[in-house]
């Protein structure tokens, strides 16, 4: 069980001359989660907002050139590079202008050539339509009784325009569609020109005119346009050769600049958020307590002047404290089991370890078979080899299935040895009772974790009076243990008298919390009404939550039954095929089912006792995209 790192709220008062160096040192260390705090009388500095925008524009422009040249290689940032956002941009801008100028002439020629080609191709499509006519193209430009227009519109809007023109006679001919845009000809009588225009306009139709080169009979005009288009194609090929030359010349410098600009942009973006008072900037954020000394040293060595540092304990009731759990490396592949539900908050214990162990036990219990487990293990290893972290979970589930396979003595549905524990089909009651007993243990771990979480957050009503607190646990055990004890004659019946007392305490928990701890509460009447229904739900919930685990036993029995069925049909000539398909079905089908069932028990029955999962991830200031902790689970 892992507790989130202890966090400290840290306020650094930094003089302006040291600001960049200190921020860069903090970003390199990746240990400060910035917090937006603006004390009375402090203001953000507009010059840094301007600088952040400047870097945003520089990175955008650099990115554009890199994209344009299709340059990809991207080495990492030099570790000891001296980053000074206030200074660096000047150099960058002048280099960027030089680079842009170097590329610009090529870019302009490329753009012109492409536009020219597009214009000619559009013209070709228009003239192609006129081929059956025996009139010069130029004579069609001034019609008296018809409105004819050719233009480009989004392809999906062509049928929409046709629907919109339902009130008038019209012609709409799609001529050519490229990249979701359609070249279309639209016509109507001059009387209806206004309606046609409105309909086209509202469908984002952009009219175009015939190229001036299109002169003479349509066939002659088309030939002239094709000749011109071929010239442009030749020009584009030459431009591509020029691009390759530019890439080899400019790429190293472009990459270097891009990485540096990105790092500077991150610093400027962070500093933009720091409030300022006179010459002093306030850097406020959360630091893991274990990193504090190192952070102090990094700040002191970076700053040329004294830096005042205020370290405060967090107040999770008032503040939103980020949560950082440093899981051991081997546990990381299992983090998704918890983070899929939510991230533990600062005051909660991270349940990844207990969830991993309980999930694997539950999975193995439902999927106990040496052979099937082995197949799952191999599948998991294959997935892992393909780079999927999920493979580790699948492989571990397979191992768990194998362990339970030994306990059940089963492999591929055959009883290959004496069961170290039992065969589920032979001991149905034992396995069902064991499943419920296991569930009771897990629920009680949940209760215990709730007590710890409530203690950590100093939530006394939750610790003592609520359904997962001391009173709730006492009621659970009086109902379960007391009931069994009295049933078997071990305990006197008077034990059961505790039940109404605990029920009343649970029912009255809100008014009691108000009375003892002045805890805010609804009116007494309302609290009693809702308390009554909650009590009813709690008592039935104890029973249903515990019995819910019976499915572990039921699936164990079903797995053995299904595997046995496959074996029993696998005799004869095609028996091997039945066995193969049956095994694939059992491993694939049941493998998924039991995984879902185990997850359901974790999320619904177990987490419901103690875990909210509404934590805020710890995302430290960093020079890198992603950075040290930047994964969903925020672990390192």
């Amino acid at each position: 069980m892992l507790a989130p790192e202890r966090m400290l709220e840290t306020n650094l008062f930094v003089l302006e001359p040291d600001l960049e160096l200190v921020t860069a040192a903090l970003a390199r260390m990746e240990a400060l989660h910035l917090e937006d705090v603006v004390p009375e009388g402090w203001t953000p500095s507009p010059e840094w907002t301007e600088l952040a925008n400047r870097y945003s524009s520089i990175t955008l422009r650099l990115g554009e050139i890199l994209n344009l040249l299709a340059s990809k290689s991207m080495p990492g940032l030099e570790p000891d590079i001296d980053l000074r956002p206030t200074r660096d941009w000047r150099d960058m801008e002048s280099r960027l202008i030089a680079l842009e100028t170097g590329v610009q002439s090529w870019q302009n020629r490329l753009k012109e050539a492409k536009q020219e080609l597009e214009r000619l191709q559009l013209g070709e499509s228009q003239v192609q339509l006129l081929l059956p006519l025996d009139v010069p193209v130029e004579d069609l430009r001034g019609l008296k009784y018809q409105t004819v227009t050719v233009g480009i519109m989004p392809a999906e809007n062509v049928p929409r325009v046709a629907e919109a023109l339902f009130q008038i006679p019209f012609i709409l001919i799609p001529l050519q569609t490229t990249k979701d845009r359609t070249l279309a000809l639209a016509a109507s009588s001059t009387d209806n020109a206004a309606i046609l225009e409105r309909a086209l306009k509202s469908a984002f139709f952009e009219p175009i005119t015939l190229p001036p080169e299109a002169l003479g009979q349509p066939a002659e005009a088309l030939a002239a346009l094709k000749r011109k288009a071929q010239e442009i194609h030749d020009r584009l090929e030459a431009l591509d050769r020029e691009r390759e030359k530019l890439v080899s010349e400019l790429s190293p410098e472009l990459n270097r600049l891009w990485l540096r600009a990105n790092a500077d942009a991150r610093l400027a973006e962070a500093i933009r958020r720091f409030p300022k008072h006179g010459e002093v900037f306030l850097i406020s954020g959360w630091v893991p307590a274990s990193d504090l000394d190192e952070l102090k040293k990094a700040v002191e060595s970076a700053a040329g002047h004294p830096v005042a540092m205020e370290v405060l304990k967090p107040d999770p009731h008032r503040q939103s404290v980020p949560s950082l759990v440093r899981s051991p490396r081997w546990l990381r592949p299992f983090e998704d089991l918890v983070t899929t539900f939510g991230l533990s908050s600062y005051e909660e214990l991270d349940p990844t370890l207990i969830v991993t162990v309980s999930f694997l036990i539950m999975y193995g219990m439902m999927f106990g078979d040496l052979g099937h487990g082995l197949l799952l293990l191999l599948t998991g290893l294959w997935l892992r080899q393909r780079g999927l972290l999920l493979g580790v979970l699948v492989a571990a589930s397979g191992v768990s299935g194998m362990v339970f396979g030994l306990l059940y003595g089963a492999a591929f549905g055959h009883q290959i040895m004496r069961a170290a524990w039992l065969q589920p089909l032979e001991g149905i009651w034992t396995v069902l009772i064991a499943a419920v007993a296991g569930g009771i243990v897990l629920l009680n771990i949940g209760f215990a974790l709730n007590l710890v979480n409530a203690w950590r957050s100093k939530d006394w009503p939750r610790l003592f009076l609520e359904k997962n607190g001391v009173v709730g646990i006492a009621l659970y055990w009086t109902l379960l243990g007391g009931g069994l004890g009295v049933g078997f004659g071990i305990l006197p019946k008077s034990v059961l008298l505790l039940i109404p007392v605990l029920c009343v305490l649970l029912w009255m928990h809100e008014p009691l919390a108000k009375w003892i701890w002045h805890h805010p509460s609804a009116s007494i009447g309302e609290a009693l009404v809702t308390g009554f229904f909650e009590l009813f739900e709690t008592v039935t919930g104890y029973a249903s939550n515990s019995l819910s685990f019976i499915r572990l036993g039921a699936f164990a029995v079903a797995h053995e039954g299904l595997s046995g069925l496959v074996v029993s049909y696998s005799g004869g000539r095609w028996g091997w095929l039945v066995f193969l398909l049956g095994t694939i079905l059992v491993v694939g089908f049941e493998g998924v089912i039991v995984g879902i069932q185990a997850l359901r028990l974790e999320y619904y029955e177990f987490f419901g006792r103690f875990f909210q999962g509404r934590g805020q991830p710890f995302v430290p200031l960093s020079l890198r995209t992603g950075g040290r902790h930047a994964i969903v689970g925020v672990r390192a």
């Binding site: 519109m153 339902f166 309606i195 984002f204 899929t340 879902i596 069932q597 997850l599």
Partner: protein, 343 residues
Amino acid sequence: MSLFSYAAAQGNIRARLSRLLNRPTWDHLLEVNTPAELGQFLARTSVAVAVASDGRLHLQALRGEVAAAAGTLVRFLPRGSRELLAWYNRRFEIENLKTVLRAVHYGLDRPRTVGSLIPLGSTRWRWDALVEAGSIPAVIEQIRDSPYARPLENAMERYQHERRLFYLEIAVDLFYFQRLVRLIESQSGKDGADARRFLGRWIAVQNVVWAYRYRIYGRMTPEEIINYTLHRAFSAGLDTVRRVALGSPLAIEAERLGFRLSPGLSEVKALTEIEILAERERFQLASSMIGRPLFHLGGALAYIWLLEAEVRDLIVLVEGKTIGLRGAEIASRLVRATGMRAA
């Protein structure tokens, strides 16, 4: 296989249902006197995460929570419905994009704009950088890798001619809803029926409301109304839009949709009434569905709609308390039934 995915989704939903504010809480919320008291009370509920230290409720944060909850559910669903729900969830992203476009177009205060965006945990873009892009083409350039770039570019020339933001907004909206319709139509079986019952119905009502808005507020011509609405929108497609465009009375079209409007309302008031009736219908559908086994798409949608209804009602509540409305007056504007209003 979808049953297994839905089992996981159901587990997730059931575990989170208790976080919704219950009826006694709503009754209490309606009774509090001031926005400050409201904040104090909400700080003790499951929406505490959106209550600022000064007691103010950060409503966009709540909407961000809805987006995050839906995003989590998406991960559990089978492929077909996962794609549908993921696309449906993109409406938050689109809302932010429209906020950015408005801010850039009107030159609005940047920090305030950034503050009014819905906080979306995982997103492709840096919203604050978009707000500071300086021009609409620069915004489009920054979102070039997104599906919204193309519809925005299609509308760009018209926008540049007339400087009306409407063209950009409608281009994105139509693109979003047309794809949503296609995704709904691609669902089959129980999921398909659920998708039509929940989202199909919602889209149909939206389409009619749009058509009337264009007619009443925009005074648009029939061609424009038809071009700016959906042609395939389940029970309110092209035929309905044509009728509206040609002047069909609102009360008649509302009745076709199954809404009975109060008599004697002006078209403007009737439009508002349709919207609230539709929202109540959504809430009732979601509430009735959530009590049943949730092994299908309807369960996930019902849960998301309940979350949305909660945020929607909280917005009404906060606004009502801020302008000093009484509890009963606010209750009449909520989608849920409370002690002060039976739905």
